[in-house]
Protein backbone atom coordinates (compact mmCIF):
# COMPACT_ATOMS: atom_id res chain seq x y z
CA UNK A 1 0.00 0.00 0.00
CA UNK A 2 1.27 3.47 -0.85
CA UNK A 3 1.73 6.13 1.81
CA UNK A 4 -1.11 8.23 0.37
CA UNK A 5 -3.50 5.30 0.73
CA UNK A 6 -2.26 4.62 4.26
CA UNK A 7 -2.99 8.18 5.31
CA UNK A 8 -6.41 8.27 3.67
CA UNK A 9 -7.51 5.39 5.92
CA UNK A 10 -7.32 7.68 8.91
CA UNK A 11 -9.27 10.57 7.41
CA UNK A 12 -12.55 11.22 9.22
CA UNK A 13 -15.68 10.60 7.15
CA UNK A 14 -17.96 12.90 9.14
CA UNK A 15 -20.10 10.07 10.53
CA UNK A 16 -19.33 10.94 14.14
CA UNK A 17 -19.36 14.71 13.83
CA UNK A 18 -21.92 15.58 11.15
CA UNK A 19 -24.09 12.71 9.83
CA UNK A 20 -25.20 11.33 13.20
CA UNK A 21 -28.82 12.42 12.80
CA UNK A 22 -28.89 14.16 16.17
CA UNK A 23 -29.36 17.75 14.95
CA UNK A 24 -32.61 19.58 15.71
CA UNK A 25 -34.31 21.23 12.69
CA UNK A 26 -30.99 21.69 10.87
CA UNK A 27 -30.64 24.12 7.98
CA UNK A 28 -26.95 24.06 7.06
CA UNK A 29 -26.27 20.40 7.86
CA UNK A 30 -29.71 19.21 6.63
CA UNK A 31 -29.70 16.18 4.35
CA UNK A 32 -25.94 15.75 4.17
CA UNK A 33 -24.30 12.32 3.93
CA UNK A 34 -20.74 13.00 2.86
CA UNK A 35 -21.26 12.01 -0.77
CA UNK A 36 -23.66 14.82 -1.69
CA UNK A 37 -21.35 17.82 -1.39
CA UNK A 38 -21.30 18.48 -5.16
CA UNK A 39 -23.25 21.10 -7.06
CA UNK A 40 -25.90 18.79 -8.58
CA UNK A 41 -26.91 17.40 -5.21
CA UNK A 42 -26.82 20.91 -3.73
CA UNK A 43 -29.21 22.18 -6.42
CA UNK A 44 -31.49 19.21 -5.77
CA UNK A 45 -31.66 20.29 -2.13
CA UNK A 46 -32.88 23.72 -3.25
CA UNK A 47 -29.40 25.18 -3.53
CA UNK A 48 -28.69 28.24 -5.70
CA UNK A 49 -32.46 28.94 -5.78
CA UNK A 50 -31.86 31.99 -3.59
CA UNK A 51 -29.31 33.34 -6.09
CA UNK A 52 -31.67 32.65 -9.01
CA UNK A 53 -34.50 34.48 -7.24
CA UNK A 54 -32.22 37.34 -6.25
CA UNK A 55 -30.96 37.83 -9.81
CA UNK A 56 -34.41 37.37 -11.37
CA UNK A 57 -33.14 34.40 -13.36
CA UNK A 58 -36.49 32.59 -13.33
CA UNK A 59 -38.67 35.36 -14.80
CA UNK A 60 -39.72 37.33 -11.72
CA UNK A 61 -38.19 40.73 -10.93
CA UNK A 62 -34.71 40.68 -9.39
CA UNK A 63 -34.34 41.70 -5.75
CA UNK A 64 -32.66 45.00 -5.02
CA UNK A 65 -29.60 45.10 -2.79
CA UNK A 66 -31.68 47.01 -0.23
CA UNK A 67 -34.24 44.22 -0.19
CA UNK A 68 -31.53 41.60 0.42
CA UNK A 69 -30.02 43.58 3.30
CA UNK A 70 -33.47 44.26 4.80
CA UNK A 71 -34.26 40.53 4.76
CA UNK A 72 -30.96 39.67 6.48
CA UNK A 73 -31.60 42.39 9.08
CA UNK A 74 -35.09 41.07 9.71
CA UNK A 75 -33.76 37.52 10.21
CA UNK A 76 -31.82 38.47 13.34
CA UNK A 77 -28.75 36.65 11.97
CA UNK A 78 -25.71 37.49 14.07
CA UNK A 79 -22.08 36.77 13.23
CA UNK A 80 -21.25 33.13 13.93
CA UNK A 81 -17.50 33.68 14.29
CA UNK A 82 -17.65 34.77 17.90
CA UNK A 83 -18.58 38.42 18.23
CA UNK A 84 -22.28 37.99 17.42
CA UNK A 85 -22.53 41.28 15.52
CA UNK A 86 -25.78 41.66 13.50
CA UNK A 87 -24.93 40.60 9.94
CA UNK A 88 -27.41 42.84 8.08
CA UNK A 89 -26.17 45.87 9.97
CA UNK A 90 -22.54 45.00 9.10
CA UNK A 91 -23.46 44.74 5.45
CA UNK A 92 -25.13 48.16 5.55
CA UNK A 93 -21.83 49.75 6.68
CA UNK A 94 -20.19 49.12 3.31
CA UNK A 95 -19.93 52.30 1.24
CA UNK A 96 -22.41 52.02 -1.63
CA UNK A 97 -21.05 54.49 -4.12
CA UNK A 98 -17.34 53.74 -3.64
CA UNK A 99 -15.76 54.09 -7.08
CA UNK A 100 -12.95 51.51 -6.68
CA UNK A 101 -12.68 47.80 -5.91
CA UNK A 102 -14.39 46.42 -2.81
CA UNK A 103 -13.78 42.97 -1.31
CA UNK A 104 -15.73 40.25 0.44
CA UNK A 105 -13.85 37.88 2.73
CA UNK A 106 -14.97 34.69 4.42
CA UNK A 107 -13.19 33.88 7.65
CA UNK A 108 -12.72 30.10 7.65
CA UNK A 109 -9.59 30.30 9.77
CA UNK A 110 -11.21 28.09 12.34
CA UNK A 111 -8.60 27.68 15.05
CA UNK A 112 -10.37 28.64 18.27
CA UNK A 113 -9.73 25.59 20.44
CA UNK A 114 -12.93 23.55 20.58
CA UNK A 115 -14.30 24.65 17.22
CA UNK A 116 -14.64 22.41 14.16
CA UNK A 117 -18.05 23.35 12.74
CA UNK A 118 -16.87 25.33 9.70
CA UNK A 119 -14.70 22.42 8.64
CA UNK A 120 -17.78 20.20 8.25
CA UNK A 121 -19.71 22.94 6.40
CA UNK A 122 -16.87 23.48 3.92
CA UNK A 123 -16.24 19.76 3.49
CA UNK A 124 -19.80 18.52 3.20
CA UNK A 125 -21.81 21.57 2.07
CA UNK A 126 -19.33 23.94 0.41
CA UNK A 127 -21.83 25.41 -2.03
CA UNK A 128 -23.90 26.85 0.84
CA UNK A 129 -20.93 29.10 1.65
CA UNK A 130 -20.36 30.00 -2.00
CA UNK A 131 -24.05 30.84 -2.44
CA UNK A 132 -24.09 32.91 0.77
CA UNK A 133 -21.06 34.84 -0.44
CA UNK A 134 -22.66 35.49 -3.86
CA UNK A 135 -25.71 36.93 -2.08
CA UNK A 136 -23.59 39.09 0.23
CA UNK A 137 -21.48 40.33 -2.69
CA UNK A 138 -24.61 41.30 -4.61
CA UNK A 139 -26.07 43.10 -1.60
CA UNK A 140 -22.91 45.16 -1.15
CA UNK A 141 -21.94 45.60 -4.79
CA UNK A 142 -18.71 43.57 -4.52
CA UNK A 143 -17.10 41.73 -7.43
CA UNK A 144 -14.22 39.83 -5.80
CA UNK A 145 -14.13 37.59 -2.74
CA UNK A 146 -11.70 35.36 -0.87
CA UNK A 147 -12.27 32.50 1.50
CA UNK A 148 -9.39 32.27 3.98
CA UNK A 149 -9.23 28.66 5.16
CA UNK A 150 -7.36 27.35 8.22
CA UNK A 151 -4.04 25.97 6.98
CA UNK A 152 -4.26 22.75 8.96
CA UNK A 153 -7.38 21.52 7.19
CA UNK A 154 -5.78 21.24 3.77
CA UNK A 155 -8.17 18.55 2.54
CA UNK A 156 -11.03 20.96 3.24
CA UNK A 157 -9.24 23.67 1.24
CA UNK A 158 -8.94 21.26 -1.68
CA UNK A 159 -12.61 20.36 -1.39
CA UNK A 160 -13.59 24.03 -1.43
CA UNK A 161 -11.43 24.65 -4.50
CA UNK A 162 -13.20 21.78 -6.25
CA UNK A 163 -16.58 23.28 -5.34
CA UNK A 164 -15.46 26.69 -6.69
CA UNK A 165 -14.57 25.03 -10.00
CA UNK A 166 -18.05 23.46 -10.16
CA UNK A 167 -19.71 26.80 -9.43
CA UNK A 168 -17.66 28.54 -12.14
CA UNK A 169 -18.57 25.92 -14.71
CA UNK A 170 -22.26 26.20 -13.82
CA UNK A 171 -22.22 29.99 -14.24
CA UNK A 172 -22.73 30.87 -10.55
CA UNK A 173 -19.32 32.53 -10.37
CA UNK A 174 -17.69 34.67 -13.03
CA UNK A 175 -18.91 37.55 -15.13
CA UNK A 176 -22.57 38.50 -15.65
CA UNK A 177 -24.05 35.73 -13.50
CA UNK A 178 -27.11 34.02 -14.99
CA UNK A 179 -27.53 36.73 -17.62
CA UNK A 180 -27.65 39.59 -15.09
CA UNK A 181 -25.28 42.52 -14.91
CA UNK A 182 -23.77 41.23 -11.67
CA UNK A 183 -20.29 39.66 -11.72
CA UNK A 184 -18.53 37.92 -8.86
CA UNK A 185 -15.29 35.93 -8.68
CA UNK A 186 -14.33 33.96 -5.59
CA UNK A 187 -10.99 32.38 -4.62
CA UNK A 188 -9.71 30.17 -1.82
CA UNK A 189 -6.65 31.15 0.21
CA UNK A 190 -5.12 28.93 2.87
CA UNK A 191 -3.33 29.89 6.07
CA UNK A 192 -0.35 27.93 7.43
CA UNK A 193 -0.65 27.77 11.19
CA UNK A 194 -1.35 31.00 13.08
CA UNK A 195 -4.26 31.29 15.50
CA UNK A 196 -4.09 35.08 15.35
CA UNK A 197 -5.19 35.08 11.70
CA UNK A 198 -8.72 34.31 12.88
CA UNK A 199 -8.75 37.96 14.01
CA UNK A 200 -10.16 39.79 11.02
CA UNK A 201 -7.48 42.42 10.51
CA UNK A 202 -4.68 39.89 11.05
CA UNK A 203 -6.44 37.76 8.46
CA UNK A 204 -6.36 40.68 6.02
CA UNK A 205 -2.63 41.19 6.61
CA UNK A 206 -2.09 37.48 6.02
CA UNK A 207 -4.18 37.60 2.84
CA UNK A 208 -1.85 40.37 1.66
CA UNK A 209 1.08 37.99 2.11
CA UNK A 210 2.44 39.38 5.35
CA UNK A 211 2.86 38.35 8.98
CA UNK A 212 -0.58 38.09 10.54
CA UNK A 213 -0.36 41.00 12.95
CA UNK A 214 -3.66 42.75 13.71
CA UNK A 215 -4.28 46.32 12.66
CA UNK A 216 -5.40 49.08 14.92
CA UNK A 217 -9.11 49.92 14.55
CA UNK A 218 -10.39 52.39 13.42
CA UNK A 219 -10.24 52.50 10.50
CA UNK A 220 -12.52 49.48 10.28
CA UNK A 221 -12.33 47.07 7.33
CA UNK A 222 -15.53 48.56 5.85
CA UNK A 223 -13.50 51.65 5.01
CA UNK A 224 -9.90 50.31 4.97
CA UNK A 225 -9.74 46.56 4.46
CA UNK A 226 -7.98 44.24 2.03
CA UNK A 227 -5.36 46.18 0.02
CA UNK A 228 -6.77 49.29 1.75
CA UNK A 229 -10.16 48.89 0.06
CA UNK A 230 -13.60 48.62 1.68
CA UNK A 231 -14.00 45.03 2.86
CA UNK A 232 -16.62 42.99 4.68
CA UNK A 233 -15.58 39.87 6.58
CA UNK A 234 -18.02 37.27 7.83
CA UNK A 235 -17.63 33.80 9.29
CA UNK A 236 -18.23 30.63 7.23
CA UNK A 237 -21.37 29.63 9.16
CA UNK A 238 -22.80 33.14 8.77
CA UNK A 239 -22.52 32.94 4.97
CA UNK A 240 -23.89 29.39 4.98
CA UNK A 241 -27.01 30.60 6.82
CA UNK A 242 -27.83 33.26 4.23
CA UNK A 243 -29.28 31.18 1.33
CA UNK A 244 -31.92 29.70 3.68
CA UNK A 245 -32.87 33.21 4.81
CA UNK A 246 -33.33 34.48 1.24
CA UNK A 247 -35.32 31.34 0.28
CA UNK A 248 -37.61 31.33 3.31
CA UNK A 249 -37.64 34.94 4.46
CA UNK A 250 -36.16 36.79 7.41
CA UNK A 251 -39.24 36.28 9.59
CA UNK A 252 -39.10 32.48 9.18
CA UNK A 253 -35.44 32.46 10.24
CA UNK A 254 -36.11 34.59 13.27
CA UNK A 255 -39.07 32.37 14.21
CA UNK A 256 -36.86 29.30 14.55
CA UNK A 257 -34.63 31.00 17.10
CA UNK A 258 -35.60 33.53 19.73
CA UNK A 259 -35.93 37.34 19.61
CA UNK A 260 -32.62 39.04 18.73
CA UNK A 261 -31.11 35.54 18.22
CA UNK A 262 -32.43 34.22 14.91
CA UNK A 263 -32.00 30.81 13.33
CA UNK A 264 -30.02 27.70 14.08
CA UNK A 265 -26.48 27.56 15.42
CA UNK A 266 -23.90 24.83 15.14
CA UNK A 267 -22.15 23.83 18.36
CA UNK A 268 -18.93 21.86 18.39
CA UNK A 269 -19.06 19.73 21.51
CA UNK A 270 -15.68 18.40 22.65
CA UNK A 271 -14.07 17.05 25.78
CA UNK A 272 -15.74 14.80 28.32
CA UNK A 273 -18.90 13.71 26.50
CA UNK A 274 -19.80 10.31 25.09
CA UNK A 275 -20.38 11.59 21.55
CA UNK A 276 -18.26 14.59 20.63
CA UNK A 277 -19.34 16.24 17.42
CA UNK A 278 -21.08 19.13 15.73
CA UNK A 279 -24.72 19.71 16.59
CA UNK A 280 -26.96 22.14 14.74
CA UNK A 281 -29.88 23.27 16.91
CA UNK A 282 -32.18 26.31 17.06
CA UNK A 283 -30.89 29.32 18.97
CA UNK A 284 -32.17 29.23 22.52
CA UNK A 285 -31.95 25.45 22.93
CA UNK A 286 -31.23 24.59 26.59
CA UNK A 287 -27.64 23.53 27.27
CA UNK A 288 -28.99 20.41 29.00
CA UNK A 289 -30.54 19.34 25.69
CA UNK A 290 -27.25 19.78 23.82
CA UNK A 291 -25.46 17.73 26.46
CA UNK A 292 -28.06 15.01 26.01
CA UNK A 293 -27.57 15.04 22.19
CA UNK A 294 -23.85 14.59 22.78
CA UNK A 295 -24.57 11.48 24.84
CA UNK A 296 -24.14 13.08 28.24
CA UNK A 297 -21.01 13.29 30.35
CA UNK A 298 -18.52 10.54 29.57
CA UNK A 299 -18.56 7.31 31.58
CA UNK A 300 -21.51 8.52 33.66
CA UNK A 301 -19.39 11.02 35.53
CA UNK A 302 -20.69 14.33 36.90
CA UNK A 303 -20.42 17.57 34.98
CA UNK A 304 -17.92 19.94 36.55
CA UNK A 305 -17.53 22.88 34.21
CA UNK A 306 -18.10 24.03 30.66
CA UNK A 307 -16.23 26.48 28.48
CA UNK A 308 -19.23 27.51 26.37
CA UNK A 309 -17.79 29.46 23.44
CA UNK A 310 -14.27 28.36 22.61
CA UNK A 311 -11.18 28.51 24.78
CA UNK A 312 -11.26 32.31 24.99
CA UNK A 313 -14.65 32.41 26.70
CA UNK A 314 -14.88 32.38 30.50
CA UNK A 315 -15.47 28.95 32.07
CA UNK A 316 -18.80 28.38 33.83
CA UNK A 317 -19.38 25.85 36.62
CA UNK A 318 -21.95 23.10 36.00
CA UNK A 319 -24.64 24.63 38.21
CA UNK A 320 -24.71 27.86 36.19
CA UNK A 321 -24.31 26.19 32.81
CA UNK A 322 -27.17 23.74 33.32
CA UNK A 323 -29.53 26.72 33.71
CA UNK A 324 -28.41 28.40 30.46
CA UNK A 325 -30.02 28.34 27.08
CA UNK A 326 -27.68 28.48 24.10
CA UNK A 327 -27.99 31.95 22.63
CA UNK A 328 -25.91 35.12 22.73
CA UNK A 329 -27.98 36.82 25.43
CA UNK A 330 -28.40 33.94 27.90
CA UNK A 331 -24.71 32.96 27.97
CA UNK A 332 -23.69 36.60 28.22
CA UNK A 333 -26.02 37.08 31.21
CA UNK A 334 -24.40 34.08 32.89
CA UNK A 335 -21.02 35.81 32.62
CA UNK A 336 -19.51 34.18 29.55
CA UNK A 337 -19.83 34.29 25.74
CA UNK A 338 -21.46 32.13 23.10
CA UNK A 339 -18.36 32.88 21.04
CA UNK A 340 -17.80 30.45 18.21
CA UNK A 341 -20.16 27.88 19.73
CA UNK A 342 -17.35 25.57 20.84
CA UNK A 343 -18.60 23.82 23.94
CA UNK A 344 -15.73 22.24 25.88
CA UNK A 345 -17.10 19.90 28.54
CA UNK A 346 -15.14 18.94 31.65
CA UNK A 347 -16.11 16.23 34.11
CA UNK A 348 -15.54 16.06 37.87
CA UNK A 349 -12.16 14.34 37.51
CA UNK A 350 -10.57 17.36 35.84
CA UNK A 351 -7.95 19.59 37.41
CA UNK A 352 -8.65 23.22 36.58
CA UNK A 353 -5.06 24.26 37.21
CA UNK A 354 -3.85 21.81 34.55
CA UNK A 355 -6.57 22.95 32.14
CA UNK A 356 -5.67 26.61 32.57
CA UNK A 357 -1.99 25.79 32.24
CA UNK A 358 -2.56 24.28 28.80
CA UNK A 359 -4.70 27.22 27.67
CA UNK A 360 -2.18 29.74 28.93
CA UNK A 361 0.59 27.97 27.03
CA UNK A 362 -1.52 28.26 23.89
CA UNK A 363 -2.02 32.03 24.21
CA UNK A 364 1.66 32.56 24.95
CA UNK A 365 2.56 30.50 21.87
CA UNK A 366 0.12 32.30 19.59
CA UNK A 367 0.57 35.90 20.75
CA UNK A 368 1.79 37.75 17.65
CA UNK A 369 4.26 39.76 19.72
CA UNK A 370 3.04 43.17 18.64
CA UNK A 371 1.67 44.57 21.94
CA UNK A 372 3.76 44.43 25.09
CA UNK A 373 0.96 43.58 27.58
CA UNK A 374 0.03 40.50 25.54
CA UNK A 375 3.53 39.42 24.43
CA UNK A 376 4.95 39.67 27.96
CA UNK A 377 1.75 39.06 29.90
CA UNK A 378 0.77 35.77 28.27
CA UNK A 379 4.19 34.31 29.10
CA UNK A 380 3.96 35.61 32.64
CA UNK A 381 0.52 34.03 33.08
CA UNK A 382 1.77 30.68 31.81
CA UNK A 383 4.84 30.73 34.07
CA UNK A 384 2.67 31.49 37.11
CA UNK A 385 0.12 28.76 36.39
CA UNK A 386 2.90 26.29 35.53
CA UNK A 387 4.63 27.07 38.82
CA UNK A 388 1.43 26.54 40.79
CA UNK A 389 0.76 23.29 38.92
CA UNK A 390 4.26 22.03 39.81
CA UNK A 391 3.52 22.67 43.48
CA UNK A 392 5.97 25.56 43.61
CA UNK A 393 3.47 28.40 43.74
CA UNK A 394 3.71 31.21 46.27
CA UNK A 395 0.77 32.59 48.24
CA UNK A 396 1.07 35.94 46.46
CA UNK A 397 0.76 34.26 43.04
CA UNK A 398 -3.02 34.34 43.17
CA UNK A 399 -3.04 38.13 43.31
CA UNK A 400 -0.27 38.41 40.72
CA UNK A 401 -2.25 36.19 38.32
CA UNK A 402 -5.30 38.37 38.68
CA UNK A 403 -3.23 41.54 38.38
CA UNK A 404 -1.39 40.45 35.22
CA UNK A 405 -4.67 39.35 33.62
CA UNK A 406 -6.32 42.65 34.56
CA UNK A 407 -3.44 44.59 33.03
CA UNK A 408 -3.66 42.76 29.71
CA UNK A 409 -7.41 43.32 29.35
CA UNK A 410 -8.27 46.26 27.15
CA UNK A 411 -4.64 47.22 26.60
CA UNK A 412 -3.91 45.49 23.31
CA UNK A 413 -4.66 46.16 19.65
CA UNK A 414 -6.72 43.00 19.21
CA UNK A 415 -8.82 40.68 21.34
CA UNK A 416 -6.17 37.97 21.80
CA UNK A 417 -5.01 39.74 24.94
CA UNK A 418 -8.50 39.67 26.38
CA UNK A 419 -8.88 36.08 25.21
CA UNK A 420 -5.82 35.08 27.22
CA UNK A 421 -6.90 37.02 30.30
CA UNK A 422 -10.58 36.09 30.49
CA UNK A 423 -10.08 32.34 31.09
CA UNK A 424 -7.66 33.16 33.92
CA UNK A 425 -10.03 35.52 35.68
CA UNK A 426 -12.99 33.14 35.29
CA UNK A 427 -10.96 30.19 36.61
CA UNK A 428 -9.94 32.24 39.66
CA UNK A 429 -13.51 33.38 40.16
CA UNK A 430 -15.13 29.95 40.07
CA UNK A 431 -12.33 27.54 41.04
CA UNK A 432 -10.01 29.61 43.23
CA UNK A 433 -9.87 26.87 45.87
CA UNK A 434 -8.20 24.45 43.44
CA UNK A 435 -5.37 26.87 42.81
CA UNK A 436 -4.98 27.69 46.50
CA UNK A 437 -4.91 24.00 47.40
CA UNK A 438 -1.87 23.49 45.15
CA UNK A 439 0.13 26.32 46.69
CA UNK A 440 2.27 25.17 49.64
CA UNK A 441 1.56 26.95 52.92
CA UNK A 442 4.96 28.53 53.22
CA UNK A 443 6.25 31.48 55.21
CA UNK A 444 6.46 29.76 58.65
CA UNK A 445 7.69 33.00 60.29
CA UNK A 446 4.17 34.36 60.08
CA UNK A 447 2.76 31.65 62.33
CA UNK A 448 5.74 31.72 64.74
CA UNK A 449 5.49 35.44 65.31
CA UNK A 450 1.73 35.39 65.65
Amino acid sequence: MKAVQVLSQFQAAGLETCFHGRHIDPQIYAGLDGSNWGIDAYIQRGGYQAVRTMLGADGAAALTSDQVIATVKESGLRGRGGAGFPTGLKWSFMPRQFPGQKYLVCNSDEGEPGTCKDRDILMYNPHSVIEGMIIAAYAMGISVGYNYIHGEIFQVYERFEAALEEARRAGYLGSKLLGSNFSFELHAHHGFGAYICGEETALLESLEGKKGQPRFKPPFPASFGLYGKPTTINNTETFAAVPWIIRNGGAAYLACGKPNNGGTKIYSVSGDVELPGNYEVPMGTPFAKLLELAGGVRKGRQLKAVIPGGSSSPVLPASIMMECTLDYDSISKAGSMLGSGAVIVMDDSRCMVESLKRLSYFYMHESCGQCTPCREGTGWLWRLVDRIHRGEGRPADMDVLDDVAANIMGRTICALGDAAAMPVRAMLKHFRHEFEAMIPKTNPRTSASA
Partner: protein, 163 residues
Protein backbone atom coordinates in the same frame (compact mmCIF):
# COMPACT_ATOMS: atom_id res chain seq x y z
CA UNK B 1 16.15 27.48 -9.77
CA UNK B 2 12.43 26.85 -9.82
CA UNK B 3 11.25 23.99 -12.02
CA UNK B 4 8.63 24.39 -14.76
CA UNK B 5 6.06 22.29 -12.91
CA UNK B 6 6.56 24.30 -9.74
CA UNK B 7 6.24 27.54 -11.70
CA UNK B 8 2.93 26.33 -13.09
CA UNK B 9 1.68 25.68 -9.56
CA UNK B 10 2.88 29.12 -8.44
CA UNK B 11 1.16 30.78 -11.41
CA UNK B 12 -2.16 29.22 -10.47
CA UNK B 13 -1.91 30.84 -7.01
CA UNK B 14 -0.71 34.23 -8.29
CA UNK B 15 -3.68 34.39 -10.68
CA UNK B 16 -6.07 34.61 -7.72
CA UNK B 17 -4.91 38.11 -6.76
CA UNK B 18 -4.76 41.51 -8.45
CA UNK B 19 -1.68 41.85 -10.68
CA UNK B 20 -0.06 44.40 -8.36
CA UNK B 21 -0.67 42.18 -5.30
CA UNK B 22 1.39 39.10 -6.22
CA UNK B 23 2.76 39.00 -2.67
CA UNK B 24 -0.60 37.57 -1.56
CA UNK B 25 0.48 34.26 -3.09
CA UNK B 26 3.54 33.94 -0.86
CA UNK B 27 1.91 31.63 1.69
CA UNK B 28 0.62 29.22 -0.92
CA UNK B 29 3.93 29.27 -2.84
CA UNK B 30 5.90 28.55 0.33
CA UNK B 31 3.54 25.65 1.10
CA UNK B 32 4.20 24.28 -2.41
CA UNK B 33 7.97 24.62 -1.90
CA UNK B 34 7.67 22.78 1.41
CA UNK B 35 5.62 19.98 -0.14
CA UNK B 36 8.22 19.52 -2.88
CA UNK B 37 11.44 20.05 -0.92
CA UNK B 38 10.51 19.25 2.67
CA UNK B 39 11.53 22.62 4.10
CA UNK B 40 12.09 26.28 3.24
CA UNK B 41 15.73 27.04 2.52
CA UNK B 42 17.31 30.48 2.20
CA UNK B 43 17.74 29.77 -1.50
CA UNK B 44 14.02 29.04 -1.89
CA UNK B 45 13.13 32.25 -0.10
CA UNK B 46 15.47 34.18 -2.36
CA UNK B 47 14.04 32.64 -5.52
CA UNK B 48 10.48 33.23 -4.38
CA UNK B 49 11.27 36.84 -3.49
CA UNK B 50 12.41 37.43 -7.07
CA UNK B 51 9.40 35.59 -8.49
CA UNK B 52 6.89 37.55 -6.41
CA UNK B 53 8.80 40.80 -6.63
CA UNK B 54 9.05 41.30 -2.87
CA UNK B 55 11.98 41.73 -0.46
CA UNK B 56 13.55 38.45 0.66
CA UNK B 57 13.19 39.49 4.28
CA UNK B 58 9.42 39.78 3.76
CA UNK B 59 9.35 36.17 2.58
CA UNK B 60 11.45 35.18 5.60
CA UNK B 61 9.03 36.98 7.92
CA UNK B 62 6.23 34.80 6.59
CA UNK B 63 8.26 31.59 6.92
CA UNK B 64 9.09 32.36 10.53
CA UNK B 65 5.69 33.74 11.61
CA UNK B 66 3.51 30.78 10.64
CA UNK B 67 3.85 27.57 12.64
CA UNK B 68 3.66 25.07 9.81
CA UNK B 69 6.64 26.16 7.70
CA UNK B 70 9.69 23.97 8.34
CA UNK B 71 12.72 26.19 8.72
CA UNK B 72 15.05 23.19 8.67
CA UNK B 73 14.80 19.70 7.15
CA UNK B 74 12.44 17.29 8.93
CA UNK B 75 11.80 13.57 8.67
CA UNK B 76 10.02 12.13 5.65
CA UNK B 77 6.82 12.16 7.70
CA UNK B 78 6.18 15.08 10.03
CA UNK B 79 3.65 14.10 12.68
CA UNK B 80 1.91 16.97 14.49
CA UNK B 81 -0.15 15.85 17.46
CA UNK B 82 -2.62 18.34 18.93
CA UNK B 83 -2.44 18.66 22.70
CA UNK B 84 -4.61 21.75 23.16
CA UNK B 85 -7.25 21.54 25.89
CA UNK B 86 -10.13 19.86 23.96
CA UNK B 87 -7.68 17.23 22.68
CA UNK B 88 -5.95 16.93 26.05
CA UNK B 89 -9.32 15.98 27.57
CA UNK B 90 -9.51 13.12 25.06
CA UNK B 91 -6.00 11.67 25.30
CA UNK B 92 -4.18 14.00 22.90
CA UNK B 93 -1.32 14.23 25.39
CA UNK B 94 -1.25 10.45 25.77
CA UNK B 95 -1.11 10.02 21.99
CA UNK B 96 1.98 12.22 21.91
CA UNK B 97 3.61 10.23 24.74
CA UNK B 98 2.73 6.96 23.04
CA UNK B 99 4.43 8.09 19.84
CA UNK B 100 7.48 9.28 21.77
CA UNK B 101 7.85 5.76 23.18
CA UNK B 102 7.04 3.98 19.95
CA UNK B 103 9.44 6.05 17.86
CA UNK B 104 12.05 6.31 20.62
CA UNK B 105 12.35 10.07 20.26
CA UNK B 106 11.31 13.05 22.34
CA UNK B 107 8.83 15.63 21.13
CA UNK B 108 10.56 17.81 18.53
CA UNK B 109 12.96 15.04 17.52
CA UNK B 110 13.48 13.00 14.35
CA UNK B 111 14.09 9.25 14.16
CA UNK B 112 17.64 8.19 13.29
CA UNK B 113 16.52 6.79 9.93
CA UNK B 114 15.06 10.18 9.02
CA UNK B 115 11.59 8.69 8.65
CA UNK B 116 9.58 10.49 11.34
CA UNK B 117 9.62 13.90 13.01
CA UNK B 118 7.32 14.24 16.00
CA UNK B 119 5.93 17.60 17.09
CA UNK B 120 3.30 18.92 19.45
CA UNK B 121 1.00 21.46 17.85
CA UNK B 122 -1.79 23.89 18.62
CA UNK B 123 -5.44 23.57 17.61
CA UNK B 124 -5.84 21.76 14.28
CA UNK B 125 -9.54 22.61 14.13
CA UNK B 126 -10.71 19.02 14.44
CA UNK B 127 -11.50 18.98 18.16
CA UNK B 128 -14.40 16.54 18.04
CA UNK B 129 -12.12 13.96 16.36
CA UNK B 130 -9.58 13.89 19.21
CA UNK B 131 -6.98 12.53 19.44
CA UNK B 132 -5.98 14.10 16.12
CA UNK B 133 -2.75 14.54 14.28
CA UNK B 134 -1.67 16.13 11.04
CA UNK B 135 0.78 14.30 8.80
CA UNK B 136 2.98 16.35 6.44
CA UNK B 137 0.76 19.43 6.72
CA UNK B 138 -1.93 17.99 4.47
CA UNK B 139 -3.39 14.79 5.89
CA UNK B 140 -5.56 14.98 8.99
CA UNK B 141 -5.73 11.71 10.92
CA UNK B 142 -8.68 11.42 13.29
CA UNK B 143 -9.57 9.35 16.37
CA UNK B 144 -5.97 8.20 16.82
CA UNK B 145 -6.16 5.56 19.52
CA UNK B 146 -2.95 3.70 20.40
CA UNK B 147 -3.97 0.89 18.02
CA UNK B 148 -4.40 3.31 15.17
CA UNK B 149 -1.11 5.02 15.94
CA UNK B 150 0.59 1.61 15.70
CA UNK B 151 -1.18 0.93 12.44
CA UNK B 152 -0.24 4.32 10.99
CA UNK B 153 3.45 4.14 11.88
CA UNK B 154 3.81 0.48 10.88
CA UNK B 155 1.96 0.95 7.59
CA UNK B 156 4.01 3.99 6.67
CA UNK B 157 7.18 2.07 7.44
CA UNK B 158 6.11 -0.84 5.26
CA UNK B 159 5.04 1.56 2.50
CA UNK B 160 8.62 2.80 2.57
CA UNK B 161 9.90 -0.75 2.45
CA UNK B 162 11.18 -0.79 6.00
CA UNK B 163 8.86 -3.28 7.63
Amino acid sequence: MISETTLARFAREVAKYPAEQKQSAVMACLAIVQQEQGFISDASEAALAVYLDMPQIAVHEVTTFYNMYNQAPVGKYKLNVCTNLPCLLRDGGKALEYLEKKLGIAMGGTTADGMFTLQQCECLGACADAPVMLVNDRSMCSFMSDDKLDQLVDSLRSAEGQA
